[in-house]
């Protein structure tokens, strides 16, 4: 597996498939504690991305990430659109015009993505949002990079941490986004955005590891 622009593009196309498969699950989660559109939103955004990549496939990882950002911003809507859009935009900016991403760069990109989400959404860990998946993923990626792991190993560590982070949202009270209106009733349900973050990272890890 290569972390070239092509590799990133493959990861995004795979993500589109995964999100289509999990569309109903994500919407169901959102129906429990939000307005039921998260699966549809993510699916719409990534389906549009696939179309956009058919027309125009940037060579560099940064170019692909920027296309992802612009497509999500203009196609997803809702809270997830600008949040994921900002995340990918910041990641694109962080990797600059690197041709092949190495593990430290991936860690930096993930950190930039997290910072973007927090800058826009002002959520803290424990607020029951995608931050609860993304933040532990970033921490795991950073220590993997420090340990000198390669990109597949780093992404697997990040994906594991994100999955655990998403699971952790089940037990907490939502404090940001629509789910916050539920108050105590949000407890007991996983946050859909945390779940989609975990799915994305798992997909990226799988593609990087050659599993998908």
């Amino acid at each position: 597996m290569a972390c070239s622009g092509h590799g990133v593009a493959v990861a995004m196309r795979t993500a589109a498939k995964v999100l289509e498969e999990h569309r109903d699950e994500l919407s169901r989660l959102d129906r429990e504690i939000g307005d039921g559109d998260h699966g549809e939103n993510m699916h719409r955004g990534f389906a549009a991305l696939v179309t956009a990549m058919e027309r125009d496939a940037p060579d560099s990882p940064g170019g692909v990430l920027k296309l992802v950002a612009m497509t999500l911003i203009s196609k997803v809507g809702g809270a997830a659109g600008p949040l994921y859009g900002t995340a990918f935009l910041r990641a694109a900016t962080a990797v600059k015009d690197t041709g092949e991403l190495d593990a430290p760069t991936v860690a930096v990109a993930l950190r930039a993505a997290l910072d973007g989400v927090v800058a826009r959404g002002k959520a803290e860990r424990g607020d029951k949002t995608m931050v609860d998946a993304l933040l532990p993923a970033v921490l795991a990626a950073e220590s993997a990079a420090e340990r000198g792991e390669d990109v597949p190993a780093l992404l697997r560590a990040a994906a594991d941490a994100a999955a655990e982070g998403a699971d952790s949202t089940v037990l907490v009270l939502a404090r940001k986004g629509r789910a916050s209106y539920l108050g105590e009733r949000s407890v007991g349900h996983m946050d859909p955005g945390a779940r989609s973050t975990a799915l994305l990272l798992r997909t990226f890890a799988d593609v990087a590891s050659g599993h998908r």
Binding site: D37, G77, A79, G121, K176
Partner: protein, 333 residues
């Protein structure tokens, strides 16, 4: 799910097409990105009043595009806020040289998308201001929430600010007026039964046969609590009391009372509820000077209602009474 639709993924687009064909004299509809624009836009020298939000709340917002109200509306997918490029397109289409005021309902998605849009429009060289309406008293503002939601008061805000812009108020004036209205409008709703988002295929929530959701949001989000259904007298009181206590409204206040249907509650019930609200207000010495009754800020076919109270003064009465010509609200013209 039983709906008069072809395909969940084309509902908004097809509905917009139908709306365009129903009101050719009033609006122009553009589909990609989706924007409803008043037919005579841009109006030179006039501040453009622009709003938008997820679809499923019809006639909000597209039904309020036209003379004396909105210059453009940006409909998102059902219950999903519109994207920045839609808002950017709306600004471009309606810019008459006096800037644009964006009216945003307080939902994370709406706020974030309009924020981005404002940046894009500023980059295009248009002066843009945004106001965020958060009139729903069901969800109290606190450290722990994203703040109050924008609901029924949005319509009143759009009408009043639209009238001011039509008369030539500048961007500062429109913004100040909008903040004034937001400061003195309060709402609360309840649901008897949920609507169904087309691509979800099943109702957004389920209530027992004898249960209502008090403080419901217009996307079916819960509010204060589930309670046993009461009489209309009790239900109206349970909406009105929190509204009155919140601002607070006091004896002698002049108000506009807006009794809103959520989409699936028929007019016979809305009028009944309206009559009760008027009676309760009269008992408190609050003077209802203007009223509006009907399904205007809806949640698909949700059964339920909301009440909105706007504190009036001479300026607001005059702006409310000013001519308006839109698909859903029309008088004086």
């Amino acid at each position: 799910m039983k709906k008069i639709i072809n395909d969940p993924s084309t509902v908004v687009e097809e509905s917009l097409k139908g709306m365009a064909s129903a009101h050719p004299d009033l609006i122009e509809v553009q589909l990609d990105p989706a924007v409803v624009v008043r037919a005579d836009a841009p109006v030179p020298g006039k501040v453009a009043i622009i709003s938008g939000g997820g679809a499923g709340h019809e006639p909000l917002h597209g039904g309020f595009v036209g003379r004396g109200m909105l210059d453009a509306a940006c409909p998102g997918h059902v219950f999903t806020s519109p994207t920045p490029d839609q808002v950017q397109a709306a600004v471009q289409k309606t810019d008459g040289g006096a800037g644009a005021l964006l009216i945003v309902k307080n939902y994370t998605g709406d706020v974030l998308n309009f924020e981005t849009a404002a940046e894009l429009a500023e980059a295009d060289g248009v002066a843009v201001r945004s106001v965020v309406i958060d009139d729903d008293v069901a969800v109290t503002d606190s450290l722990y929430t994203a703040g109050r939601r924008g609901v029924g008061g949005t319509l009143l805000l759009e009408k009043v600010v639209g009238a001011a812009a039509e008369r030539g108020a500048d961007l500062d004036g429109c913004e100040a007026l909008a903040r004034k209205v937001i400061g003195q409008v309060r709402s609360m709703g309840l649901a008897l039964a949920a609507g169904t988002v087309p691509h979800a295929g099943e109702p957004g929530f389920t209530l027992a046969d004898d249960e209502i959701e008090l403080g419901i949001g217009i996307h079916g989000e819960p509010g204060r609590r589930r309670v046993k259904i009461g009489t209309a007298d009790e239900m109206v009181k349970s909406l009105l009391d929190p509204i009155l206590d919140d601002l607070p409204f006091a004896a002698g206040d002049r108000v506009l009372l807006f009794t809103n249907g959520m989409g699936g509650t028929p007019l016979i019930e809305l009028y009944l509820a309206h009559g009760i609200a008027e009676r309760l207000l009269a008992e408190r010495g609050i003077v209802v000077e203007r009223r509006l009754v009907g399904p205007f800020v809806t949640s698909l076919e949700m059964q339920g209602m909301s009440l909105t109270l706007l504190k009036l003064d001479d300026e607001l009465v005059e702006l409310w009474d000013a001519p308006v010509h839109t698909a859903a609200l029309r008088w004086g013209v």
